[in-house]
């Protein structure tokens, strides 16, 4: 998967969690949670959707790697190389 495709995947998952999520002003190097008003319960949905859609097992200690859109892409790029 390309970096752009991974980015779109994350945004698609977030849109699925909150259909009113506003991506226009989203800064890719700032925490997603603060910008999109997501709580830790919503955040778990991102992890679980990645598991469901791409059979990715993300261990709990790696959750901080998913904090910003950029860090998501960096973390997921090698894991989704063949996807």
């Amino acid at each position: 998967m390309t970096r752009d495709a991974i980015k779109n995947l994350i945004l698609e998952i977030i849109e699925d969690i909150d259909e009113d999520a506003d991506f226009d002003a989203l800064q890719s190097d700032k925490p997603l949670r603060d910008q999109l008003d997501l709580d830790s319960m919503d955040f778990l949905d991102i992890v679980m959707e990645l598991r469901k859609r791409h059979k990715l097992q993300i261990p709990e200690e790696d959750y901080p790697e998913l904090a910003t859109l950029d860090s998501c892409v960096n973390y997921l790029e090698p894991l989704l190389a063949d996807a």
């Binding site: 969690i17 909150d18 008003d37 709580d39 830790s40 319960m41 919503d42 778990l44 949905d45 992890v47 679980m48 959707e49 598991r51 469901k52 709990e60």
Partner: protein
């Protein structure tokens, strides 16, 4: 049979937990001992009509824009759209201490604030400070018991107002006598006064069917009439359960929503929990003709009343204490379709041990139920206006009814006075959710199921 997750109890916390898990991993099995799901919030048929049990109103109302409000978080977590529930807000409710004072409240908090300013002017400033405390308090931080009553009294300097604030919060969710933990008070104050009350447009059956449809849509499985007789375990590791039918089901994780002591019983070990009085309740449903006017309180949704000099919330000495209680008129929500009947529901504190004495004598038990209804009736009429002549049907539930249908120990709807907030009782793969976790009301118990799945189970699979 083996499943990754097995859930005991098809009440609202079990159903919510099941949906939450099945959204990501469909292999989940929900076990319900009764023939119907819902637990305390269920229904039965009489006179060709459906009667709801449990549900008066749902607390924690929130408008759609408040994303982090418990109701909206819950719906997001379960992927249920608000429109599916068809929410109707309460008209207005009242705390009435007879011959003393009355306070109105609704889903607009400014009404309650202005009522207190008008009727308790000397305490209004203190009330504002109390609100500041509530708005900044973290009720989920683990702390030893702090007396809410003392904190409120310190702010308000008025015993009557303190009791009036506590009365609805205790009746809608306190399992302990005459006081509440401050954290619990904050949760309940937000849920009832600051957020408010609503009900779904349909019956509780429609709500339960909606949840079941979502659950089966994700691929989840359910078995009713499937009582559990034993939890199979070696030390702290759970292997599965033995059903009353003799069948064995193994699992990786077990979630129990049936109560802490009830769970220890299935584990076959003493709970070690201190024994405290469990609060029981009686409820009478009066079905009355649709045209009955109820002139003294025609638009009220819920009235929390007290007719004694001081308010006491404790296990009565006798079968029932009629000095205080809750009167609910379930048709009084905004824009509900006109029904062909009205209901008045009255709830009072009851003593399980006294009812238990009547267990084996059907005639005495029936007579006690009759007396309960006939004593409750004039209390309700004094507050609402006369309606006795328009009653078409009535029925009374006792702590024994609740125990029989929900398996709640001593019929105590709010469970054990001791709460296990994180659902962890020291087992590797068994967790508790529901009433004994300290979350209350329909939204609270459902969030409890969801949060235990999120916290303890999903990240480990």
């Amino acid at each position: 049979m083996h499943v990754p997750l097995l859930i005991i109890g098809g009440g609202l916390s079990g159903l919510a937990a099941a949906i939450r898990f099945a959204r990501f991993i469909p292999d989940v099995l929900l076990l319900e001992q009764h023939s119907r799901v819902g637990g305390l919030n269920s229904y039965y048929y009489r006179n060709n009509r459906l009667f709801e049990t449990g549900l008066h109103a749902i607390t924690n109302y929130a408008p759609p824009k408040e994303k982090n409000a418990p109701l909206n978080r819950l719906l997001r977590q379960l992927k249920i759209k608000r429109q599916e529930l068809k929410l109707h807000q309460q008209n207005q409710s009242e705390i009435r201490f007879l011959d003393q004072e009355s306070l109105l409240f609704s889903n607009d908090f400014s009404l309650f604030d202005s009522e207190i300013a008008e009727k308790f002017p000397a305490s209004h400033n203190g009330f504002r400070h109390l609100i500041e405390l509530i708005d900044t308090y973290d009720p989920f931080r683990p702390l030893p018991f702090i007396s809410a009553k003392k904190v409120i009294q310190k702010h308000l300097q008025n015993a009557l107002l303190t009791d009036m604030l506590l009365c609805p919060l205790m009746y809608y969710g306190s399992s302990i006598e005459n006081d509440m933990d401050l954290g619990q008070f904050v949760i309940m104050f937000r849920a009832i006064f600051q957020e408010g009350m609503f009900r779904p447009g349909g019956t509780i059956k429609d709500l339960l069917d909606l949840l079941l449809n979502h659950y089966s849509g994700h691929g989840g499985k359910i078995r009713t009439r499937a009582g559990v007789s034993k939890i199979l375990h070696t030390d702290k590791k759970i292997h599965g359960v033995l059903l009353e039918s003799g069948e064995e089901i193994t699992c990786d994780y077990l979630l129990s929503t049936i109560g802490s002591e009830e769970t220890y019983t299935l584990l076959g070990i003493p709970s070690g929990l201190k024994s405290m009085p469990r609060l029981g309740f009686v409820e009478t449903i009066f079905e009355i003709q649709a045209g009955t006017p109820l002139p003294l309180a025609h638009d009220r949704t819920i009235i929390f009343y007290n007719s004694d000099k001081a308010f006491s919330y404790q296990q009565p000495e006798q079968l029932v204490d009629f000095n205080s209680g809750v009167i609910c008129m379930p048709q009084n929500f905004e824009n509900l379709p006109q029904a062909s009947f009205k209901e008045v529901r009255t709830t009072h504190l009851a003593r399980y041990e006294e009812w238990e004495l009547l267990k084996n004598n059907q005639d005495d038990y029936k007579a006690a139920k009759e007396t309960t209804a006939l004593t409750s009736l004039p209390v309700a009429e004094k507050i609402l206006g006369n309606f006795a002549q328009n009653i078409v049907y009535r029925d009374t539930f006792t702590p024994l009814t609740i125990e029989r249908f929900t398996a709640k120990k001593k019929g105590a709807i709010y469970g054990n006075p001791i709460k296990i907030k994180d659902g962890d009782i020291g087992y590797d793969n068994l967790f508790l959710a529901g009433t004994d976790q300290g979350f209350l009301g329909i939204v609270g118990s459902m969030l409890s199921g969801v949060s235990i799945i999120n916290q303890h189970i999903l990240p480990r699979l």
